[in-house]
């Protein structure tokens, strides 16, 4: 699949990494941080945002086309890389950071590091907090296809995006990205025990969005994010699982846009 028209790509050197960065649109800057499975070549959600924003969509270090930093050991390391990118490009003023799933965890870490570093925070089905009742689904026990399917409430939405039987190169990419996820988020798996204690300092206006049927990160994590962040609102999206951006791209883009307009 080729990227949607209008997207530019470049390689940005940060912390010795060749960071793959896609960008499109015009308006206030908005940084989208992708899921653990990587960033699809075509994202209707990202496309929808380009109408209002200057969208920057990097591939995380070691994911997709960004080079792998062998030294990297934690999600916090990724957050620092993005702080570096923001500082270098002088993007902080007016910046909205949208973190999807695993990218939401990175965004939350970024927010704790410097609460005034950007203007708004959007977390969508974010990893990063340990659920009290349920569990974050362990992808190490699930095949690539089963794991991603689990993130959809409607199997047809998966089929439309990836095909009922995703092509081998897609699976290879999911395996590569899974490996990088293991390298930085293996233990504890997909959360930081210290993060909840640090979210209280994040005065950044925050929108927490969760798919009603998220079977990867339980909805209670959304509730905990909303409680821990001093200035946050929780929005639940019906007809969506973990990959809200893939199942309800228009709806999520609308929520983000309205949130930015208000605050």
């Amino acid at each position: 699949m080729t990227p949607s028209p209008g997207w530019r790509t470049e390689s940005v050197p940060v912390a010795g990494i060749s960071l793959h960065l896609a960008s499109a649109g015009s308006g206030a800057p908005l940084l989208v941080l992708h899921h653990d499975i990587g960033r699809p070549e075509r994202s209707p959600f990202d496309d929808a945002l380009t109408n209002r924003f200057s969208v920057l969509a990097p591939s995380h270090p070691g994911y997709d086309r960004s080079s792998r930093p062998d030294w990297m050991r934690s999600v916090r390391d990724v957050a620092v890389v993005y702080q570096w990118l923001i500082a270098e490009r002088d993007l902080a003023r007016g910046l909205t950071v949208v973190g999807l799933g695993f990218g939401g965890w990175i965004a939350a870490e970024m927010a704790t590091m410097s609460p005034r570093a950007f203007k708004r925070l959007v977390l969508v089905g974010a990893m990063g907090i340990k659920p009290e009742r349920g569990e974050i689904a362990d992808q190490a026990l699930l095949s690539y296809i089963d794991y991603v399917r689990r993130g959809f409430t409607d199997a047809r939405a998966f089929d439309r995006l990836f095909g009922a039987e995703p092509a081998t190169p897609v699976l290879e990419q999911w395996d590569l990205n899974r490996e990088m996820t293991f390298r930085i988020a293996w233990k504890p798996y997909m959360y930081s025990p210290t993060l909840p204690h640090l979210l209280g300092g994040v005065t950044t206006p925050a929108l927490v969005v969760w798919g009603r049927d998220d079977r990867i990160v339980p909805l209670e994590c959304g509730e905990r994010y909303q409680k821990a962040l001093p200035n946050a609102r929780l929005e639940i999206v019906e007809g969506a699982g973990h990959f809200v951006d893939m199942e309800q791209p228009e709806r999520l883009a609308e929520l983000v846009t309205r949130f930015v307009d208000k605050v």
């Binding site: 190490a140 026990l141 999911w174 490996e179 390298r183």
Partner: protein, 411 residues
């Protein structure tokens, strides 16, 4: 030749149908089906088998370990090695081996192994493995750093064995501010290290660079020859000549008084639904990052059912290509001669029985191996010049030119 007895220590008292219904017999297959009463009986039977193996003339007892699965009851090879160190007299205790990446404290492993070596009066051969993919998940260890941890833990253990402490270790995966274990091996320069394996080229190359014997685990004869080609080439590049003293092979081999009985019992080598290590999802056996990136495409295709199981050969095929050998001593010896002639190993492990083979039949198999097969193999070994590392006095490693000897012993 160095001839060893081996068993996976099958937990044969588990309800097979439950495993089939669940669709897996490893990692996530519930341990509610583990029966400790049967476990107690089986552990003690296996200990008797090891002692019998020594009695009938085996040179070594090969031990291994696995986790969370009925195909192997042994969860810690150092436990059985410790028991055998005290209850056997002559056999080498060949651990193939301790899965190094699973250790969070390799210094502790170095101590345990030193204790086993001393209690056994210098009979330890300390093999090391990466551990299967499932072992990483069963112990919560990051599969993406498996090989790095393997190599670093190895370096730390050898240093702890050979250099006086205290010293400090600041590695990528292990940090020990004080390394000074008050237990060091009896054997100097250090116990022999042998490296078993089945799939990874990287491990063959690594073993050859270290000048450690490599033990091929039940590979096909043609595949085994390729392993030795590769090993010998790296040996040559490293500055020594490969040969029998660096070659080991684990043979599934069941002997009985009749051909029919031997063949029927040999079918039990397939008892784990035809899988070496039990039924499991491919992503459990090979979590992302565990395999070499060069296998990525083949692996993801296998994981979603687009490629057949590389280890799924049928029983008849494995009998045909001699990955499994079964029969009376008379019919088995010529088959083993062929293996020795074609692949020239000096170290042979005999995986003698598996699954539901009875205690009595297992004992008969061990006895027939010891009394009739091993003497014949020793003769063939002499004829072919298959001298084991002990007979050839080969160096312990690329770094230590001398063979392993108990301290104080006259060489």
């Amino acid at each position: 030749m160095h001839l060893m007895y081996f068993t996976e220590q099958p937990m044969s008292a588990y309800p097979e149908q439950e495993g089939r219904d669940f669709g897996a017999t490893a990692l996530m297959f519930s341990n509610r089906y583990f029966d400790p009463v049967a476990g107690s009986r089986l552990y003690n039977e296996y200990l008797e088998h090891y002692r019998l193996a020594e009695e009938v003339g085996f040179d070594g007892i090969m031990l291994n370990e696995h986790h969370n699965a009925p195909f192997c009851m042994q969860a810690k090879c150092n436990v059985f090695a410790s028991i055998l160190a005290a209850t056997t007299k002559r056999v080498k205790l060949v651990l193939l081996g301790n899965p190094l990446p699973l250790a969070d404290n390799p210094v502790r492993l170095a101590e345990e192994l030193a204790m086993i070596d001393m209690v056994s009066r210098g009979r330890l051969v300390s093999g090391f493995v990466r551990g299967g993919g499932q072992e990483q998940l069963a112990t919560g260890v990051n599969p993406a750093f498996n090989r790095e941890r393997f190599e670093e833990a190895h370096d730390l253990i050898v240093k702890a064995w050979t250099q006086p402490g205290p010293f400090r270790w600041e590695g990528a995966h292990y940090q020990h501010r004080v390394v000074n274990p008050w237990a060091v091996p009896l054997q100097k320069p250090h116990p022999r290290v042998w490296i078993p394996g089945v799939l990874s080229k990287e491990t063959i190359v690594w073993a050859a660079k270290k000048r450690y014997p490599y033990i091929a685990l039940s590979t096909e004869i043609e595949a085994t020859k390729k392993i030795w080609e590769q090993y010998d080439q790296v040996a040559q590049e490293t500055g020594y000549a490969g040969g029998p003293e660096y070659r080991g092979y684990l043979q599934r081999c069941h002997i009985a008084e009749t051909e029919e009985k031997a063949l029927a019992n040999a079918r039990q080598f397939m008892w784990m639904q035809g899988e070496f290590t039990g039924l499991a999802h491919p992503v459990w056996s090979s979590p992302s990052g565990y395999f070499s990136p060069s296998y990525r495409k083949a692996f993801v295709e296998y994981a979603v059912g687009r490629r057949s199981n590389p280890r799924g050969a049928a029983f008849e095929d494995q009998i045909h290509n001699q990955q499994i050998v079964a029969g009376t001593p008379k019919t088995v010896i010529p088959k083993l001669r062929r293996l020795l002639e074609e692949t020239r190993p000096s170290i042979m492990g005999f995986w003698a029985a598996d699954g539901f083979v009875s205690n009595e039949d297992t004992r008969t198999c061990i006895r027939l191996l010891g009394q009739e097969v091993l003497p014949a193999l020793r003769d063939i070994g002499k004829e072919l010049g298959l001298w084991s590392p002990f007979e050839a006095n080969s160096p312990v490693s690329i770094n230590f030119a001398e063979p392993a000897q108990p301290a104080g012993a006259v060489a």
